[in-house]
């Protein structure tokens, strides 16, 4: 099918406002709603056209892979940007995938509520991308990830069927948990068009304190002290270089005063005095900004081995003449890494192995790694995933 014929076919389905420039693909399809999305997927399948799913500026995701972009239809969900329902007293909201984190925050702010979508990319990040890639940020320490607070999901299967899992209530065990399955599947099991969430009251007041750390031992000591601390902070971050840790907590005046009293003991573990972060809002907005041109990785390790894995990777990067930056969840063992210049070939394999030597479950994953690369590995779990993809995916 020619590029013009593809564009004409998309326009016939979606109307004039539903077709745009392809940017590498044959054309860009902008469905107005979930039903149009389903119709488009079914049409593309019948016409044997590859379909690339993008969620706007932040993260481009492909159903299939980027290799198929040429001659493909690029599906853009930017027009799926409605709030389906919002019940502040039920603490629930239904959102379409094209909404940005900023628009969602603005909607929820009306009732002093929030969804902790503090991912890299900030307010511009689209919900669909956050779900498809299972993105999270510092607030994960307290709230968990989207997998923990998504209560319902709507998606279009590879066959073009509009499908749902979960529902609109905060507690629901009917059927298989399709929310967790679809979140992080990078669009390979279906295109997420909307999701329902339980939302949270916005903490009345929050404070952020930071420590400059002399070394990895201090990072480990601080983590250990907070592991055994009865309070539940909103965030506990480790970043560098230079090596620094940040603690964010919230609550009423009494609770925050208690945390401030605890800072002296925590500072002894950190080996330095805690310093208050003056403009919290600006600090956390800038905290997630990525360096340009660096290769981005994610490190996931058991919570108690995260610091050791980071330490090993810093040593490896230095030996390879690479600059490494990191930031992540000190209490959970999940970190975002930036490496420059990038590693390829054998050194990249050794780099992954450096993490695994610290703990067999520690994993390094490239941020832009298609899920197919992961599924190609060995193991009974990955074999099940491949079967699942074949059964329901593209």
């Amino acid at each position: 099918m020619t590029q013009d014929a593809i564009a004409a076919g998309v326009e016939a389905l979606l109307g004039k406002g539903g077709v745009g420039e392809g940017a590498g693909a044959a054309c860009r399809a902008l469905p107005a709603d979930a039903e149009q999305t389903a119709a488009l997927v079914a049409w593309a399948r019948a016409a044997r056209l590859p379909l690339a799913v993008g969620h706007g500026a932040t993260i481009a995701l492909a159903m299939g892979s980027e290799r198929t972009l040429s001659g493909a239809v690029r599906l853009d969900l930017a027009r799926l940007a409605r709030v389906r329902f919002y019940e502040p007293q039920d603490l629930t909201i239904g959102l379409e995938a094209g909404l940005t984190a900023g628009a969602i925050a603005a909607e929820l702010a009306r009732a002093q509520q929030c969804l902790p979508l503090d991912v890299a990319g900030g307010d511009a990040a689209r919900l669909g991308a956050i779900l498809a890639a299972h993105r999270s940020g510092p607030l994960r320490h307290y709230y968990g990830t989207v997998r923990d607070f998504t209560i319902g999901i709507e998606f279009v299967t590879a066959a073009g069927k509009l499908t749902h899992g979960g529902g609109r209530v905060v507690k629901n065990v009917a059927g298989y948990d399709l929310m967790r399955l679809m979140i992080g599947a990078q669009g390979t099991l279906g295109v997420i068009t909307a999701a329902n969430f339980k939302v949270f009251p916005r903490p009345a007041e929050t404070e952020t304190w930071g420590w400059g750390l002399a070394g990895w031992e201090q990072a480990e000591a601080l983590r250990g002290a907070l592991l055994r601390h009865p309070g539940r902070p909103l965030a506990l971050e480790l970043c560098g270089p230079p090596l620094r840790a940040y603690l964010r907590f919230g609550g009423g005046a009494g609770a925050r005063a208690r945390w401030r009293r605890e800072l002296a003991a925590l500072s002894r573990h950190a080996g330095s005095e805690a310093e208050a972060v003056a403009d919290e809002g600006a600090f956390w907005r800038e905290y997630g900004a990525a360096a340009s041109g660096a290769q981005r990785w994610r490190l996931v390790a058991p919570a108690g081995r995260g610091v050791a894995a980071l330490r090993a990777l810093e040593g490896f990067a230095a030996a390879q003449g690479r600059a490494l930056r990191w930031r992540g969840r000190l209490g959970l063992g999940v970190f975002e890494l930036e490496l420059a210049p990038e590693l390829e070939g054998r050194p990249a394999l050794d780099w992954r192995e450096a993490a695994r030597r610290v703990h067999p479950e520690a994993r390094l994953m490239r941020d832009d790694e298609p899920i197919e690369t992961v599924l190609d590995g060995s193991g009974a779990d990955l074999a099940l995933m491949r079967k699942l993809r074949a059964a329901v995916g593209a």
Binding site: G167, K171, V173, G175, L181, W259, V300, A303
Partner: protein, 479 residues
Amino acid sequence: MGAYDQLRRKLEARFGRAGVIGDPVGRMLYEYDGGVDRATPDLVVFPQTREDVIAAVKLAHQAGAPLIPRGAGTGLSGGAVAREGGVILSLNRMRRIVEVDVENLRARVEPGVVNLEFSDQIAPTGFYFVPDPSSQKACTIGGNVAENSGGPHTLAYGVTVNHVTGLEIVLADGAVARLGGKTAECQGYDLVGPLVGSEGTLAIVTEITVKLTRRPEAARTLLAIYDAAEQAAATVSAITAEGIVPAALEMFDGFSLRAVEAYIHAGYPLDSAAVLLIEVEGLEEEVEEQAAAIEQVCARAGARETRRARDEAERAKLWLGRKHAFGAMGRLSSNFYVMDGVIPRTKIGAVLAGIERISAASGLRIGNIFHAGDGNLHPLVFFDQRVPGQFEAARAASEDIIRLCVEMGGSITGEHGVGMEKDGLMPLIFSEADLDFMRAVKQVFNPEGKLNPGKLLPTYRSCRETALAAAPAGAAARL
């Protein structure tokens, strides 16, 4: 010789006579769980290790026999009942705590470990396993995984799926897979998510990696007392509107609190129309602030009085009433049916009024004790099985309640699972496309459908029947 005689001999050869039940009287003990549905298994086998499970699964697979995993049998939806006969795989002898790894905030346990015993055993570490179903003294963590169990304290912390990061599973053909592990997320798809709550229809779980949660420093337990149930219901959403998420928020209607008080003497006022049992947890200063704010909300919503438990003994007594509530109800009637439905918490008042109408129309008494904070209702429908037609009437009333929940935008189950009780009701909240997707997932794990058949997913026939009977408003419950 029948197929099950041959299988019995093979199982006895592997497990010994003490490891297999095949006689009719012994099998009768396994024909029910905590719910109302019954069916007799052909055999019961008791593996003690993963290798035992693999051996039993392979033998059942070769014989083409259905295989039904079972924990303590405390479930309430018939999940552990052998609906189509077959072999019950009783996992409650697999009760080793394999590892407690506080540094990584994880523990690995076998499926037969009892929920409360686990938290008690690890208490010296200062950590615990959050899900706390009412049956936690008896129910197993494997059963919690199968049903994605909740409990009063899951309001703030989430249900079982939020506290499990890894599973070791045995598939229908005896193959072993490890999903997830100790890390906060795994590579590839999240298969732990759909496995939790799959009611034994995807695989047999032989080991579970659970999250350990730090015990809170302090708790405040409040009892808010009302002269009108609507005021208690309105308080629930008023608390959330205030920006407070309690650790637990339970409600008793007047009938139920009087029944519980007569049995437990927990201190619930006999002349009240409803009470709320509210608990906040956290730092000492935090809970003090929250308890004070909740007292004000309750007063504004019309509470006659709000009492605080003065010490741990008073707190334990208040909770004893909740934990033993269903036992107390057993004193009122020879039979009762515990329902499980979910509604948006703003609809509690309207739904309680609807349940009263259903009670009047059916002529059956219905009590309400439930997790009000997350809108998870547990109406108790009382009946006498000896009176012809009463069981059927109780079932019909229960289905009416579920339909009401769905009409209000809710779900057919919040924590008891679908099992064989509600598989036919799944079309009330899921379309045929939704169910087809779930069937495709099941097909990957359990292609021959021999693992716990007749559970969770409706047969096509019951789908059509329910769809025809479904209220038109049912469709509104979807996204």
